[in-house]
Amino acid sequence: MEKELVKEIAELRKLLHEKENKLAALRREKEILQSYGLSNNEVCKYSRQILIPEINIKGQVKIKNSSVLIVGAGGLGCPSALYLAGAGVGCIGIVDYDDVEVNNLHRQLLFTEDNIGTPKVDAAAEFITRLNRNVKIIPYKLQLSSSNALQVIENYDIVLDCTDNVATRYLLNDACVLSGKPLVSGSALKFEGQLTVYNYKGPCYRCIFPTPPAPYTVTNCGDGGVVGAAVGTIGLLQALEALKIILEMPGVLTRRLLLFDGTETTFRNIKLRPKNLNCAICGNNRTIHKLIDYEQFCGAKANDKNPDLKILRDDERVTVEDYHKMYNSQLTPHILIDVRSPEEFEICQIKNSINVPFTEIEKDGCLALIEAEVNKRQQEDDIVEVFVLCRRGNDSQNAVKRLQKYFDNPNVKIRDIEGGIHAWSRKFDPLFPIY
């Protein structure tokens, strides 16, 4: 029943879409076009910004004739696309390979619950077309890579970096330098955001960051969390900077970095170094002449998904199935340490588990707590079994490694649970939320 309804709604939506397009085309035929290239309908629609001296009719024509590529239809890309479309940018390309997921909806407001499971770029195109039929939207459902980036970028005047990972940020920078396009770069995490414009009368990303950060120093939104209104603020400002570049206005955020702190509502504008004459891609003696392998360069994948780590030996791990048996039979007394953050622990937890956040695990208080539990067990059992659990089975392995240093005792057996609480939820507790 549910499936049939979903299918029926999708078909109706498609039909509606076709009819809307037909109506729009009919109306377009009747439009009156002024000699400067805007229709009366456009003049009326954009009148509130045409009235501004910095824009006027000439500026609006520039905006209409411009094209902007948005890479990443996430928390940054959604608001930028929305406001660029509202302003009347003639052509907007949107690149994203992902489908809409339910955890996107709190900040990626081009998508509705009905779009879950459909390509982001298609859902975005549908929304924006309905918002402004004068805008041509070109969706690219693909992972931007060294083999396709230059081809895609070449058709646009300006590129917006709305991506979520380091490798794609270097790729976009190099592609923009090689094709001479300004890059409006935004990023955000939690309550904070950062914004700057690269390769526009100033430095490029590599001039400022010649060396990529080590992967373990990078936090993604899926782990650190992000506030919709904070990342949205940066996305809107990206749209603003793009418009200023189109209008050839002074005051573009180049050689400066804007730091936004949503917890204190402060905007801080810091002065960056100029173009580095020795920059590997934009300097005088460049060493990079074509796009390289960015995943290799950064030592990290070009997405914000967490890879499955394999740090421990097989005998230092237990499958979620085996742990489930032990848990049910109650024949193996043990200590279960959940190393997720307190916020995650509050979402869902296994009975009798102790929460010791991964970032705190080596602190004295936490070690003492674990030691007390181990001592308690030692009075009853010869061998003390300790299991470590996290969200997906990555942190738990690192936690075991750390704990092994402190409990260097053959009678204390520390293992992690493969796949973490996600695997547990999927296989044994369908009532647990997967986040």
Binding site: G72, G74, G75, L76, G77, C162, T163, D164, N165, V166, R169, G186, S187, A188, L189, K190, E192, G193, Q194, I208, F209, T211, P212, P213, A214, T217, V218, T219, N220, C221, G224, V226, V231, L257, L259, D261, R268, N269, I270, K271, L272, R273, D304, T359, E362, K363
Partner: protein
């Protein structure tokens, strides 16, 4: 450590997540001992020894900050001021910002 008016008063700030290494405190008003000329490089080690609460590898790499951290003195990139060689002045605000990559 000396106190009162003898030392060099500076403000040290952290942002972009770097504050997590410093007890989540974003702003530290400190008084550096008056026994030497303070450069940014010396300050890095002083921060490591006096303010840093955990995982120094997330802050320093060798004798400089790790890739991905920007250092700013009074809101200007330290590259403009001679990096580690810059001599700290009374009242300087030194900001360490970890760059964000999410979106």
């Amino acid at each position: 450590m000396s106190s009162g008016d003898d030392g060099l008063h500076v403000i040290i700030e952290f942002g972009g997540g770097a504050e997590l290494l410093f007890d989540k405190q974003k702003r530290h008003v400190v008084n550096l001992p008056a026994d030497r000329e303070w450069t940014l490089k010396l300050l890095l080690f002083w921060i490591r020894d006096n303010l840093l609460k955990e995982r120094p590898e997330l802050f320093l790499q060798g004798d400089t900050v790790r890739p991905g951290i920007l250092v700013l003195v009074n809101d200007a990139d330290w590259e403009l001021l001679g990096q580690g060689e810059y001599r700290l002045q009374k009242g300087d605000t030194i900001l360490f910002i970890s760059t964000l990559h999410g979106g």
